[in-house]
């Protein structure tokens, strides 16, 4: 039982990060139909920028804030200078643009920061909390709480504010949204910015546990994409559930089966789920129009 709890908690912690990356995927996909493979780079920027700004003598909370602002600016720039000029390009071309952006950002990070692994001090120390025989890092709880706060805030904003409704309208039908007077460029830009901010926050929260370096983005983008697809692309709730499930799957298969094959188990489950439900867990089936 203690073992089970231990695996469950480590799975949920990693899963929360996957969920946040998947949520970023979903936001951008809904707003612009772009699968953004540079999503993992936002996580990297969040963690690394915090480390380096703090090292320059800025207090940690302010450094974290500046890092989030920096990532948001990168997200907006990605939209403004790479996605927007390619409006009307095919889905595959847009994906290649984001892959190019991801290579570019990784290359830039390698120059601006460095190629080593870095860590941040955990918020509440690193004395594990004993719970039912399992030892849980306080930072794990911070990650989970942070993810929860982000999801709730985002949900409230989207559902309860006029601008949030405009974002929803843009996601539902861009042309119709424009016809009723919504500035869709602003709502799409907003989606990129928020998506980048969420990624950066996830990066800051997880760095004390998993460390960060210039090249962590690729794997995270891959896992986040898989999580979003598992949940059903376009569904925010699906993204969160998909992320947590993926984290749990990895942790349990690493714990009970084989740590070498943990990624394999996760992807086998994703394949089986997709064979049974080709539109993901919470996705809607689409009809092809001829």
């Amino acid at each position: 039982m203690a073992e089970f709890l231990q695996f469950a908690f480590s799975g949920l912690t990693v899963g929360a990060v996957y969920a946040l990356v998947a949520l970023g995927f979903t936001l951008i996909y809904n707003a612009s139909d772009v699968i953004n493979f540079a999503q993992g780079e936002f996580v990297m920027i969040g963690g690394l920028a915090t480390v380096f700004i703090a090292a320059a003598g800025i207090p940690l909370p302010l450094a974290a804030l500046l890092a989030v602002v920096a990532a948001t600016a990168v997200g907006l720039a990605l939209y403004r200078f790479a996605i927007e000029p390619a409006r009307g390009a095919s889905a595959v071309s847009l994906i290649m643009i984001t892959i190019g952006a991801s290579i570019f950002l990784r290359g830039a990070a390698q120059v601006i920061f460095d190629k080593r692994y870095h860590s941040l001090p955990p918020l509440f120390g690193d004395t594990p909390i004993k719970f039912g025989g399992a030892a849980i890092l306080p930072q794990s709880l911070v990650v989970l709480a942070g993810a929860l706060v982000i999801v709730v805030l985002l949900w409230t904003f989207i559902e309860r504010t006029l601008f949030g409704k405009a974002v929803l309208a843009t996601a539902a039908n861009k042309l119709a949204a424009r016809l009723v007077g919504i500035d869709t460029r602003r709502t799409v830009g907003f989606s990129f910015a928020v998506s980048a901010a969420i990624g950066a926050i996830a990066g800051i929260l997880i760095t004390p546990i998993t460390l960060t370096s210039y090249n962590i983005g690729t794997l995270l983008a891959l896992k986040g994409f898989a999580a979003a697809m598992l949940g059903g692309i376009g569904s925010a709730l699906g993204a969160v559930i998909g992320g947590l499930l993926l984290g749990l799957l990895e942790a349990f298969s690493a714990g009970y089966l084989s740590s070498q094959y943990k990624d394999a188990v996760a992807f086998i489950v994703i394949l089986v789920v997709l064979f049974a439900r080709p539109q993901g867990l919470l996705g809607r089936a689409t009809v092809e129009r001829v």
Binding site: A108, D263, I270, L271, F275, G280, E288
Partner: protein, 343 residues
Amino acid sequence: MSVRRIDERPAVKETLPLGRRLGSAGTTIADRFAAYRLTSVLAIAVVIAVVPVFFPSTYYYRVAALVYVFALAALGLNLLMGFAGQVSLGHAGFMGIGAYAVAIGPTHFGLPTWLSLFVGAALSAGVAFLVGRPILRLRGHYLAVATLGFGLLLAIVFSNEAEWTGGPDGMSVRRLVLIGWAVRGSENWYWFSGATFLVGAALALNLIDSPAGRAMRAIHDSETAARVLGIDVARTKLVVFVISAIYASVAGSYLALFNGHITPEVAGFLRSIELVAMVVLGGMGSIAGSLVGAAVLVLLPQVLTFLHEYEHLVLGLILMGVMIFLRNGIVPSIAAALKGRSS
């Protein structure tokens, strides 16, 4: 993933309506395609034959040989993506099967290398046939993630089954011997891989103009419409998937034999992405595009090494720039621009 196919081939529409097609000029669609096929193959043959004139050292033969090897894999993937409209983010997995076949066959089973290459191709075809049916039921991004997962699974197996594959450090590969002739040296490999690419391109052109090829292009435009026309959609997709897997597998075998050493990276996610990038960059649905895309992505890292730590930064910028300004890929965009000027 609905993608508009831009093609430098003579469009069918030009030769319709029917009256003109049956007209006295005597040039039917079939004739024009046959002529197009011949000129394409000849053009590629000329390129392969003439390019070495400009090579100052064997290093250039080496890089050019790599271009043909990757162009072969990209060509197979282009059949799947550009003509049948199905994306695969796991095609490096098949390159891995081909690569490890020529590594494991001679080492563990004492098979001749050339036979291992064919065994690898057959194995890839078999695996593609088995996983293809369930995977190809998925559409768009779901297909992307499923193929991605499949490729990752293969890469994980290659790096974990160390007693067979040497694990993450990889294993060495014995030389290819063909009827007593050991294929060695960059120059020989240049001609060998160039000739193979030429054969691959000829076969691909043939396929595209066959009834099966027309069926797969119909699926690309609209799956539902294709089904209404009586095309067995599932079977056609599966056939293209198997064919593209064979192309990738042969390319993987060549890569392993040429380098003399392989690591699981040959089957990795980044390799798969690189193959997709070659297809998209060169131009989806363009045979010449596969060669151009492979050339760009093999040459760029070699050219950019002088930038040292700025290499990736510039590589990313170029990739983004090309996709923004030549969004249909290099070859179709340039072809369209030339056509626009001449008319």
